[in-house]
Assembly symmetry: C3
Homo-oligomer: 110 residues x 3
Protein backbone atom coordinates (compact mmCIF):
# COMPACT_ATOMS: atom_id res chain seq x y z
CA UNK A 1 0.00 0.00 0.00
CA UNK A 2 1.48 3.28 -1.15
CA UNK A 3 1.01 6.58 0.68
CA UNK A 4 1.34 10.06 -0.76
CA UNK A 5 2.14 13.24 1.16
CA UNK A 6 -0.68 15.70 1.66
CA UNK A 7 -1.16 18.87 3.68
CA UNK A 8 -4.28 18.96 5.85
CA UNK A 9 -5.79 22.43 6.39
CA UNK A 10 -8.32 23.50 8.99
CA UNK A 11 -9.84 26.98 8.77
CA UNK A 12 -11.70 28.28 11.83
CA UNK A 13 -14.64 30.58 11.06
CA UNK A 14 -17.81 31.53 12.86
CA UNK A 15 -21.25 31.55 11.29
CA UNK A 16 -21.68 35.30 11.78
CA UNK A 17 -18.69 36.04 9.57
CA UNK A 18 -20.62 34.90 6.48
CA UNK A 19 -17.36 33.70 4.96
CA UNK A 20 -18.29 30.04 4.55
CA UNK A 21 -20.06 30.18 1.20
CA UNK A 22 -17.52 32.40 -0.57
CA UNK A 23 -14.74 30.17 0.77
CA UNK A 24 -16.42 26.95 -0.38
CA UNK A 25 -17.09 28.45 -3.79
CA UNK A 26 -13.47 29.50 -4.07
CA UNK A 27 -12.14 26.06 -3.02
CA UNK A 28 -14.57 24.22 -5.28
CA UNK A 29 -14.67 26.35 -8.44
CA UNK A 30 -11.25 27.97 -8.51
CA UNK A 31 -8.82 25.93 -6.46
CA UNK A 32 -10.43 22.60 -7.33
CA UNK A 33 -9.22 20.93 -4.15
CA UNK A 34 -9.54 17.18 -3.80
CA UNK A 35 -12.34 17.48 -1.27
CA UNK A 36 -13.68 19.71 1.49
CA UNK A 37 -15.59 18.93 4.67
CA UNK A 38 -17.37 21.52 6.78
CA UNK A 39 -18.04 20.99 10.50
CA UNK A 40 -20.08 23.02 12.95
CA UNK A 41 -18.76 23.25 16.48
CA UNK A 42 -21.14 23.35 19.43
CA UNK A 43 -19.11 25.90 21.39
CA UNK A 44 -15.84 27.77 21.34
CA UNK A 45 -14.00 30.99 21.76
CA UNK A 46 -11.50 32.94 19.68
CA UNK A 47 -8.41 35.02 20.18
CA UNK A 48 -10.33 37.78 21.91
CA UNK A 49 -11.88 35.36 24.38
CA UNK A 50 -15.49 35.86 23.29
CA UNK A 51 -17.49 32.64 23.71
CA UNK A 52 -19.53 31.26 20.82
CA UNK A 53 -21.94 28.67 22.16
CA UNK A 54 -25.08 26.87 21.10
CA UNK A 55 -26.24 26.84 24.71
CA UNK A 56 -26.82 30.60 24.82
CA UNK A 57 -29.68 31.66 22.62
CA UNK A 58 -28.31 35.03 21.60
CA UNK A 59 -25.09 33.50 20.38
CA UNK A 60 -26.82 30.81 18.37
CA UNK A 61 -25.98 32.53 15.09
CA UNK A 62 -22.28 32.70 15.78
CA UNK A 63 -21.27 29.09 16.25
CA UNK A 64 -17.83 27.92 15.14
CA UNK A 65 -17.64 26.58 11.59
CA UNK A 66 -14.56 24.65 10.51
CA UNK A 67 -13.59 24.06 6.88
CA UNK A 68 -11.21 21.13 6.40
CA UNK A 69 -9.47 20.00 3.24
CA UNK A 70 -6.32 18.23 2.13
CA UNK A 71 -4.36 18.09 -1.09
CA UNK A 72 -0.80 17.88 -2.37
CA UNK A 73 1.59 20.14 -0.40
CA UNK A 74 2.55 22.42 -3.31
CA UNK A 75 -1.05 22.93 -4.34
CA UNK A 76 -2.07 23.70 -0.75
CA UNK A 77 0.77 26.21 -0.35
CA UNK A 78 -0.54 28.09 -3.39
CA UNK A 79 -4.13 27.95 -2.12
CA UNK A 80 -3.10 29.32 1.28
CA UNK A 81 -1.45 32.29 -0.41
CA UNK A 82 -4.68 32.93 -2.31
CA UNK A 83 -6.77 32.70 0.87
CA UNK A 84 -4.72 35.19 2.85
CA UNK A 85 -6.80 38.07 1.52
CA UNK A 86 -10.17 36.63 2.51
CA UNK A 87 -9.42 34.79 5.77
CA UNK A 88 -7.62 35.96 8.93
CA UNK A 89 -4.28 34.05 8.73
CA UNK A 90 -4.46 33.37 12.47
CA UNK A 91 -7.41 31.10 11.75
CA UNK A 92 -5.66 28.83 9.24
CA UNK A 93 -3.78 25.79 10.60
CA UNK A 94 -2.09 23.15 8.43
CA UNK A 95 0.02 20.04 8.92
CA UNK A 96 1.64 17.23 6.94
CA UNK A 97 -0.16 13.90 6.63
CA UNK A 98 -0.29 10.81 4.45
CA UNK A 99 -3.06 9.84 2.06
CA UNK A 100 -3.44 6.18 1.20
CA UNK A 101 -3.18 5.23 -2.44
CA UNK A 102 -3.30 1.85 -4.09
CA UNK A 103 -1.00 2.70 -6.95
CA UNK A 104 0.02 5.51 -9.26
CA UNK A 105 -2.18 4.28 -12.06
CA UNK A 106 -5.25 4.83 -9.94
CA UNK A 107 -4.05 8.27 -8.91
CA UNK A 108 -3.77 9.30 -12.55
CA UNK A 109 -7.11 7.92 -13.65
CA UNK A 110 -9.32 9.05 -10.78
CA UNK B 1 4.61 13.56 31.80
CA UNK B 2 5.40 10.88 29.24
CA UNK B 3 4.06 10.90 25.69
CA UNK B 4 3.74 7.93 23.37
CA UNK B 5 3.65 8.03 19.57
CA UNK B 6 0.31 7.37 17.91
CA UNK B 7 -1.02 7.60 14.38
CA UNK B 8 -4.24 9.57 13.97
CA UNK B 9 -6.52 8.41 11.14
CA UNK B 10 -9.43 10.25 9.57
CA UNK B 11 -11.65 8.42 7.09
CA UNK B 12 -14.00 10.52 4.95
CA UNK B 13 -17.29 8.83 4.06
CA UNK B 14 -20.74 10.06 3.12
CA UNK B 15 -23.97 8.82 4.65
CA UNK B 16 -25.24 7.45 1.35
CA UNK B 17 -22.33 5.03 1.09
CA UNK B 18 -23.68 2.98 4.00
CA UNK B 19 -20.14 2.09 5.01
CA UNK B 20 -20.19 3.58 8.50
CA UNK B 21 -21.67 0.66 10.42
CA UNK B 22 -19.54 -2.07 8.81
CA UNK B 23 -16.46 0.09 9.39
CA UNK B 24 -17.29 0.73 13.05
CA UNK B 25 -17.99 -2.96 13.59
CA UNK B 26 -14.67 -3.86 12.00
CA UNK B 27 -12.72 -1.32 14.08
CA UNK B 28 -14.50 -2.30 17.30
CA UNK B 29 -14.80 -6.08 17.04
CA UNK B 30 -11.82 -7.07 14.90
CA UNK B 31 -9.20 -4.38 15.07
CA UNK B 32 -9.95 -3.45 18.69
CA UNK B 33 -8.68 0.10 18.28
CA UNK B 34 -8.18 2.24 21.35
CA UNK B 35 -11.17 4.43 20.53
CA UNK B 36 -13.19 5.78 17.64
CA UNK B 37 -15.14 9.00 17.21
CA UNK B 38 -17.62 9.65 14.41
CA UNK B 39 -18.44 13.17 13.21
CA UNK B 40 -21.08 14.40 10.80
CA UNK B 41 -20.13 17.31 8.58
CA UNK B 42 -22.70 19.93 7.62
CA UNK B 43 -21.45 20.32 4.06
CA UNK B 44 -18.66 19.25 1.74
CA UNK B 45 -17.63 17.96 -1.62
CA UNK B 46 -15.47 15.10 -2.84
CA UNK B 47 -12.96 14.41 -5.57
CA UNK B 48 -15.59 14.63 -8.28
CA UNK B 49 -16.76 18.01 -7.09
CA UNK B 50 -20.29 16.97 -6.12
CA UNK B 51 -21.53 19.00 -3.15
CA UNK B 52 -22.97 17.25 -0.11
CA UNK B 53 -24.86 19.77 1.98
CA UNK B 54 -27.42 19.81 4.75
CA UNK B 55 -28.87 23.03 3.33
CA UNK B 56 -30.23 21.33 0.23
CA UNK B 57 -33.10 19.01 1.03
CA UNK B 58 -32.44 16.45 -1.67
CA UNK B 59 -28.87 15.99 -0.52
CA UNK B 60 -29.78 15.62 3.11
CA UNK B 61 -29.10 11.89 3.06
CA UNK B 62 -25.59 12.23 1.73
CA UNK B 63 -23.84 14.37 4.33
CA UNK B 64 -20.15 13.82 5.06
CA UNK B 65 -19.38 11.37 7.87
CA UNK B 66 -15.87 11.26 9.32
CA UNK B 67 -14.50 8.35 11.33
CA UNK B 68 -11.50 9.28 13.49
CA UNK B 69 -9.31 6.99 15.56
CA UNK B 70 -5.76 6.77 16.86
CA UNK B 71 -3.55 3.94 18.08
CA UNK B 72 0.05 2.80 18.03
CA UNK B 73 1.71 3.32 14.62
CA UNK B 74 2.39 -0.36 13.89
CA UNK B 75 -1.15 -1.37 14.79
CA UNK B 76 -2.61 1.42 12.65
CA UNK B 77 -0.43 0.42 9.67
CA UNK B 78 -1.87 -3.08 9.86
CA UNK B 79 -5.42 -1.78 10.20
CA UNK B 80 -5.01 0.49 7.16
CA UNK B 81 -3.92 -2.50 5.08
CA UNK B 82 -7.05 -4.35 6.21
CA UNK B 83 -9.29 -1.39 5.36
CA UNK B 84 -8.00 -0.97 1.81
CA UNK B 85 -10.56 -3.45 0.52
CA UNK B 86 -13.59 -1.74 2.04
CA UNK B 87 -12.73 1.98 1.84
CA UNK B 88 -11.48 4.09 -1.09
CA UNK B 89 -7.81 4.72 -0.16
CA UNK B 90 -8.12 8.32 -1.35
CA UNK B 91 -10.45 8.90 1.60
CA UNK B 92 -8.03 7.75 4.33
CA UNK B 93 -5.66 10.35 5.80
CA UNK B 94 -3.25 9.69 8.69
CA UNK B 95 -0.54 11.56 10.58
CA UNK B 96 1.80 11.14 13.51
CA UNK B 97 0.82 12.57 16.91
CA UNK B 98 1.55 12.18 20.61
CA UNK B 99 -0.72 10.67 23.22
CA UNK B 100 -0.22 11.73 26.80
CA UNK B 101 0.54 9.01 29.29
CA UNK B 102 1.28 9.25 32.99
CA UNK B 103 3.55 6.23 33.12
CA UNK B 104 4.08 2.79 31.66
CA UNK B 105 2.42 1.08 34.58
CA UNK B 106 -0.83 2.80 33.82
CA UNK B 107 -0.53 1.96 30.13
CA UNK B 108 -0.25 -1.72 30.97
CA UNK B 109 -3.10 -1.80 33.44
CA UNK B 110 -5.69 0.28 31.60
CA UNK C 1 3.46 34.51 3.89
CA UNK C 2 5.02 33.55 7.21
CA UNK C 3 4.03 30.50 9.24
CA UNK C 4 4.55 29.94 12.94
CA UNK C 5 4.76 26.58 14.72
CA UNK C 6 1.79 25.57 16.86
CA UNK C 7 0.74 22.44 18.68
CA UNK C 8 -2.79 21.24 17.96
CA UNK C 9 -4.52 19.43 20.84
CA UNK C 10 -7.63 17.28 20.72
CA UNK C 11 -9.18 16.08 23.97
CA UNK C 12 -11.74 13.28 23.79
CA UNK C 13 -14.49 13.46 26.40
CA UNK C 14 -18.03 12.19 26.63
CA UNK C 15 -21.02 14.27 27.69
CA UNK C 16 -21.69 12.11 30.74
CA UNK C 17 -18.31 12.95 32.22
CA UNK C 18 -19.43 16.54 32.86
CA UNK C 19 -15.86 17.69 32.31
CA UNK C 20 -16.52 20.03 29.38
CA UNK C 21 -17.47 23.17 31.25
CA UNK C 22 -14.67 23.01 33.84
CA UNK C 23 -12.19 22.34 31.02
CA UNK C 24 -13.43 25.27 28.91
CA UNK C 25 -13.35 27.56 31.93
CA UNK C 26 -9.80 26.48 32.67
CA UNK C 27 -8.63 26.99 29.07
CA UNK C 28 -10.40 30.33 28.76
CA UNK C 29 -9.84 31.97 32.14
CA UNK C 30 -6.56 30.47 33.32
CA UNK C 31 -4.60 29.20 30.36
CA UNK C 32 -5.83 31.93 28.00
CA UNK C 33 -5.34 29.78 24.91
CA UNK C 34 -5.59 31.41 21.50
CA UNK C 35 -8.91 29.74 20.73
CA UNK C 36 -10.95 26.62 21.48
CA UNK C 37 -13.52 24.76 19.42
CA UNK C 38 -15.84 22.10 20.80
CA UNK C 39 -17.33 19.37 18.60
CA UNK C 40 -19.95 16.77 19.34
CA UNK C 41 -19.51 13.39 17.75
CA UNK C 42 -22.51 11.36 16.58
CA UNK C 43 -21.09 8.02 17.69
CA UNK C 44 -17.97 6.43 19.08
CA UNK C 45 -16.40 4.08 21.55
CA UNK C 46 -13.56 4.35 24.05
CA UNK C 47 -10.75 2.23 25.37
CA UNK C 48 -13.13 -0.15 27.10
CA UNK C 49 -15.10 -0.72 23.92
CA UNK C 50 -18.37 0.77 25.16
CA UNK C 51 -20.30 2.38 22.32
CA UNK C 52 -21.58 5.95 22.65
CA UNK C 53 -24.13 6.63 19.93
CA UNK C 54 -26.86 9.12 19.16
CA UNK C 55 -28.85 6.37 17.46
CA UNK C 56 -29.56 4.56 20.72
CA UNK C 57 -31.89 6.51 22.96
CA UNK C 58 -30.43 5.37 26.27
CA UNK C 59 -26.96 6.48 25.25
CA UNK C 60 -28.07 9.87 24.04
CA UNK C 61 -26.56 11.61 27.05
CA UNK C 62 -23.13 10.12 26.59
CA UNK C 63 -22.11 11.27 23.13
CA UNK C 64 -18.45 12.02 22.37
CA UNK C 65 -17.40 15.63 22.91
CA UNK C 66 -14.08 16.81 21.50
CA UNK C 67 -12.27 19.93 22.66
CA UNK C 68 -9.73 21.24 20.15
CA UNK C 69 -7.27 24.07 20.54
CA UNK C 70 -3.89 25.18 19.29
CA UNK C 71 -1.22 27.54 20.56
CA UNK C 72 2.54 27.92 20.71
CA UNK C 73 4.32 24.62 21.54
CA UNK C 74 5.85 25.75 24.85
CA UNK C 75 2.56 27.17 26.09
CA UNK C 76 0.71 23.99 25.10
CA UNK C 77 3.29 21.80 26.87
CA UNK C 78 2.65 23.73 30.08
CA UNK C 79 -1.13 23.52 29.64
CA UNK C 80 -0.98 19.76 29.09
CA UNK C 81 0.90 19.37 32.37
CA UNK C 82 -1.82 21.37 34.12
CA UNK C 83 -4.58 19.28 32.55
CA UNK C 84 -3.14 15.93 33.60
CA UNK C 85 -4.97 16.11 36.90
CA UNK C 86 -8.40 16.72 35.45
CA UNK C 87 -8.37 14.70 32.20
CA UNK C 88 -7.41 11.07 31.56
CA UNK C 89 -4.03 11.43 29.72
CA UNK C 90 -5.04 8.63 27.34
CA UNK C 91 -7.67 11.01 25.95
CA UNK C 92 -5.28 13.86 25.04
CA UNK C 93 -3.67 13.79 21.58
CA UNK C 94 -1.43 16.53 20.18
CA UNK C 95 0.65 17.18 17.06
CA UNK C 96 2.78 19.86 15.44
CA UNK C 97 1.23 22.14 12.84
CA UNK C 98 1.72 25.54 11.21
CA UNK C 99 -0.37 28.63 11.75
CA UNK C 100 -0.41 31.23 9.01
CA UNK C 101 0.72 34.70 9.92
CA UNK C 102 1.12 37.78 7.75
CA UNK C 103 3.96 39.29 9.69
CA UNK C 104 5.36 39.71 13.19
CA UNK C 105 3.85 43.16 13.60
CA UNK C 106 0.38 41.75 13.31
CA UNK C 107 1.21 38.94 15.74
CA UNK C 108 2.20 41.48 18.35
CA UNK C 109 -0.78 43.77 17.90
CA UNK C 110 -3.59 41.23 17.63
Amino acid sequence: MRQIAVTVVRIYLTEAEKKLNPLLKRLHDWEKVRGVTVFRGISGFGKHGKMHSSTLLDMSLDLPVIVEFFDEPDKVATILTHLSGMIDPGHIVSWQASLMSNDEQQEQND
